[in-house]
């Protein structure tokens, strides 16, 4: 049987996503075998900083009876000596039963899958894909509402934000309508817009949060990175106009949920945390059951 990898949300069809989310819900309600991956080892190869993704994968394997290995800091691993990723992957395949990888280069996880003899899970490759984040985003939406035909707003850095790209692709399978708001130069890439519209997805661009807040079901906020702006003044200027506040949410639908892949910086006013709309910490917590379902999918 061919080794199963999870590289891109685009490799999934809708029924495969639904099956995985159903499994995650079952795990979430504590109905799972705690020794399902007993004796199995997960190698965590994180060539970029990560807190949530890495810890939730480590938590997920531990809750299923397995253990994890990691390289520590990138500076301490053989990549720092000039080893190719291909060689690293070949070597680590001999130490573990699956590999979860985060890498700064786009397509790194797909390359890893070509050289690995064990399953590879992509935990983010540059500005590319981050399928486990997308699955937990969808899971969090589904906790509040059926995903079908909903209005989802993506705001922030939509050009380089991999979580926004992956989520938009997945939502095209659910006939969702997309609303976007991003600073000039940080819009969704044209190639992605073309791909989504060719699948029949409606995309509405907006000039302010206020003009769409009353029509959307999900508000997905992404972090804007200061280095994308020419100077601090222009960053703060844009960041303040994209800030989510309780006042802004007063015009929202009652069931609107606010999501953020975290970490947040200035995008969401801390006062929103107490609002019934806030779901971003729940979303982060959902990373564990969703990643448990993913690990069981590829390692069993």
């Amino acid at each position: 049987m061919a080794t199963r990898h999870i590289i891109s949300i685009g490799d999934f069809n809708r029924s495969e996503i639904d099956r995985l989310l159903d499994h995650a819900r079952q795990i979430d309600s504590k109905k799972y075998d705690r020794n399902a991956l007993n004796g199995k080892i997960l190698a965590a190869l994180f060539f970029e900083p990560s807190t949530r993704t890495r810890m939730s994968f480590e938590s997920a394997i531990a809750r299923l009876g397995g253990t994890s290995l990691s390289v520590g800091s990138v500076d301490a691993c053989s990549m720092a000596k000039g080893e190719t990723l291909a060689d690293t992957i070949r070597v680590v395949s001999g130490y573990a039963d699956a590999i979860v990888i985060r890498h700064p280069k786009e397509g790194a996880a797909r390359l890893a899958a070509e050289f690995a003899t064990v399953p590879v899970i992509n935990a983010g490759d540059g500005a590319g894909q981050h399928p486990s984040q997308t699955l937990l985003d969808l899971y969090t939406i589904r906790q509040s509402m059926p995903i079908d035909k909903i209005d989802v707003a993506l705001i922030g850095d939509l050009r380089y934000g991999r979580t926004a790209h992956s989520l938009a692709s997945a939502l095209s399978l659910y006939n969702a309508r997309l609303h976007t708001l991003s600073p000039t130069g940080l819009e969704l890439p044209d190639t992605l817009v073309n791909e989504l519209t060719s699948k029949g997805m409606e995309i509405v661009n907006h000039d302010s949060i206020e003009e769409m807040i009353g029509t959307i079901d999900v508000l997905y906020v992404t972090r804007m990175q200061r280095e994308r702006f020419p100077d601090s003044a222009s960053y703060f200027n844009v960041a303040s106009s994209y800030r989510i506040t309780p006042e802004l949410l007063s015009g929202a639908k009652e069931h609107l949920i606010v999501l953020h892949p975290l970490p947040r910086v200035d995008e969401i006013d801390p006062r929103v945390d107490e609002s019934p709309h806030a779901r971003y910490f729940e979303q982060s917590k959902n990373g564990v059951p969703v990643r448990m379902a993913m690990l069981m999918d590829v390692m069993q």
Partner: protein, 158 residues
Amino acid sequence: MTHTGTADENERLLIRRIRNGTVIDHIDGGEALNVVKILGITGTTQEALSIATNVPSRDMGRKDIVKLTNRELSKEEVDRIALISPHATINIIRNFKVCEKKGVEIPNLIQGLVRCPNPGCISNTNEPIQSKFRVLPTGLHCHYCDWVITKDLTSYII
């Protein structure tokens, strides 16, 4: 009286018949040098290579022709040409006779031919891989990073 000749006669004056090899005809006008590039033919090639550009053509207005002696192109090589000149025809010549005549088909996958324009793509590093693109109606999709090339393909030929 000056003899001007027909288009065919002029063409013969431009490039001679070859005994053995491949004639690539009906190349879109101006694309011959890119065809040569796509075939990986460089200045170090030993065999005779003839190129005619902007030859008058009844069907195409103008066309290019490439004649390559003592080398018969494989199907994979031929199909690469379809990416830039889908109307090209290939004639395999043996002892001055056309032994095979075929069109070109756009391949589903091209490997090692085009560099991914995305500087952040893993295929632009020292990894032991060749670039790989899926050929779809929307353009050439990088197998690794999903970047899509929609125009200026020839500027990315390795």
